[in-house]
């Protein structure tokens, strides 16, 4: 279990934010199957920008990794990143403060 402390003001937003990351995983996998690296880059970029603000620096790291891997067109790193994100989302436990 990974425990993350999040700003209480954001409590209402967090379930939606995490659901969107689950969707991102599915989107990245679909884009990878089509070889659409630019689409993956955009998702990674967006994840990188928002993760830290919501209190999830790990999501920002994953996003940055996805963005870099998409630019390098490295499918293995992209698969690895989505796998790490899926695992993280399954484990994360939120404490609002």
């Amino acid at each position: 279990m990974v425990q993350v402390t999040v700003d209480k003001d954001l409590e209402d937003l967090i379930p939606g934010f995490l659901t969107n990351r689950q969707r991102d995983i599915e989107k990245v996998e679909a884009l990878l199957a089509k070889g659409d690296f630019d689409g993956i880059r955009i998702i990674g970029h967006s994840m990188k920008g928002s993760g830290g603000g919501y209190g999830f620096p790990f999501i920002t790291e994953i996003g940055a990794g996805l963005e870099r891997a998409a630019i390098a067109r490295d499918a293995d790193i992209i698969r690895n990143a989505t796998s790490q994100l899926r695992h993280y989302l399954a484990q994360v436990e939120i404490v609002y403060r």
Partner: protein, 477 residues
């Protein structure tokens, strides 16, 4: 923060095509007391900007369609002083440099921290306008509903706090001086004099003396030293109305004052430092006057730092009902009489009228209609007749002559510090004739003597004397 407790919250427009970012930034800002408007594209942001008139824009740099940099350019094309904060996930130095060069308030890197974001929004608002609760509403007496006026006043309010030189264009009767006064009253100079002078109403030699002052003996009749309006307005604001009528010789002198902030009175070898904010105005096309060689190009650029355009009444027709109502109310109060109103068809007629004389003409029409109508309701026939009789800004020869004579008398009284014998000598009249003229114009020479009201602390235009903006007698445009 100091911002979140204002009674009227500051509106921030968030522009980002990432809904999670929009939700995050909105939550932070709302929790800190800001009002938030959101847009998910540059195009939507431009629409929201016109409708909601935010105080600050927070935009992503990279977006589908219009990017943040293009949006910044579009915003500043119509709102040059709107603070824009840019957010980017890729903090490339060239982009940041370019954005800073384009006048951005802050460039923040994603992921951004809450404190950093709020501090930058507060700073941007503080730099662009006074967020003090104590300050009265900008242009509180100005009557309007139109977007054109709202946008103008918003822009004017943003620059009131600074010492930026403002240039107001607009037709006769639109209320350019009213706007200049509103800017002065919202500025840190509000406790110092606001002095208006109509550059077109005073002969060249008098105007030179009026503005720059003169030494004793500087010219025939200059028996005493005269301070001049630039010195009288020290610490405050000098409103130069009809600047396009200023003679070329004086334009050079004024340019020197604006460059060096020093004034040299006529006949003096000594320059005196002055701290004056200059707001100028004209109904003329000054750029055209520059092309024709009638106005100095260097002075034009020195004055035209921030241009503001007063819309004509025809461009703000939605304000006509409110203006009519206001003037009807004012007339009733002034005469201690029951408030009259226009019949619906009269109102309809007035709404569609061309109004070449603008708010001044409208005010005169209300005066005329209320005077000549015996009943409580002003009929269409009266409205039509009043509009026909009110010749839209063109005065009769007698009215124009009277106005000139009064301005002239005020000018010589100022120059002579209210010394009637000297003033009469300059005017080429004997003292008895001069006294008669003063009486005709209800002028009292004593008020122009040292320590009198005319030496700097006089409300220069309140009695319709030196400043002659067509709408200067009213607080409402």
């Amino acid at each position: 923060m100091g911002i979140n407790d204002t009674s009227t919250p500051y509106r921030v427009l968030i522009v980002d095509d990432d809904s999670d970012m929009v939700a995050l930034l909105s939550t932070w800002l709302k929790a800190s007391g800001f009002s938030v408007i959101t847009a998910t594209s540059g195009d939507e942001a431009l629409t929201r900007l016109g409708m909601s008139r935010p105080h600050c824009v927070l935009t992503d740099l990279y977006m589908e369609g219009m990017d943040g940099m293009t949006l910044l350019g579009r915003i500043h094309a119509s709102n040059p002083l709107m603070p824009v904060i840019m957010l980017s996930g890729q903090a490339g130095i060239p982009e940041a440099m370019k954005a800073m060069h384009l006048g951005i308030a802050a460039f923040l890197t994603k992921p951004v921290e809450k404190e950093t974001l709020l501090a930058n929004v507060s700073r941007a608002l503080r730099l662009s306008s006074d967020i003090s609760e104590a300050r009265p509403k900008f242009g509180a007496g100005i009557i309007y509903r139109s977007t054109a006026m709202a946008e103008l006043l918003e822009k004017a309010e943003l620059l009131a706090d600074s010492d930026i030189t403002v240039f107001i264009s607009g037709q006769t009767g639109t209320g350019k001086e009213v706007l200049a006064k509103a800017i002065h009253e919202a500025s840190p100079r509000r406790d110092k004099p606001f002095i208006g002078v109509n550059c077109g109403a005073i002969p060249e030699q008098l105007l030179e003396s009026e503005l720059f002052g003169h030494e004793r003996g500087a010219f025939t009749g200059a028996l005493t030293r005269h301070e001049g309006l630039l010195q009288a307005a020290n610490g405050g604001t000098l409103f130069l109305d009809e600047i396009g009528d200023m003679p070329l010789g004086l334009q050079v002198k004024l340019l020197r004052v604006l460059q060096d902030f020093e004034v040299r009175p006529v006949g003096s070898t000594r320059s005196v430092p002055v701290n004056v904010r200059v707001i100028s105005a004209t109904h003329q096309d000054l750029a055209d006057a520059v092309k024709r060689g009638e106005f100095r190009e260097d002075l034009y650029y020195r004055l035209n730092v921030v241009p503001l355009h007063m819309p004509s009444l025809a461009e703000r027709r939605e304000d006509i009902p409110a203006l009519l109502d206001y003037f009807l109310d004012r007339v009733a109060q002034k005469r201690n009489a029951k408030k009259k109103r226009f019949a619906p068809e009269a109102l309809e007629y007035l709404l569609a009228a061309p109004w070449p004389g603008n708010v001044r003409q409208l005010m005169n029409v209300v005066e005329l209609c209320t005077t000549l109508t015996k009943t409580d309701i002003i009929p269409l026939s009266m409205a039509k007749s009043a509009l026909r009789e009110e010749p839209a800004g063109i005065q009769t020869l007698k009215v124009a002559k009277d106005a000139f004579e009064r301005n002239y008398l005020i000018g010589v009284l100022r120059i002579t510090n209210g010394h009637v014998a000297n003033a009469a000598r300059i005017a080429g009249r004997n003292r008895t004739e001069f006294y008669k003229l003063l009486a005709q114009h209800h002028l009292n020479a004593a008020e122009f003597r040292k320590g009198g009201a005319a030496e700097g602390d006089e409300p220069e235009s309140s009695d319709g004397d030196v400043a002659e903006d067509p709408a200067d007698e009213q607080r409402d445009v």
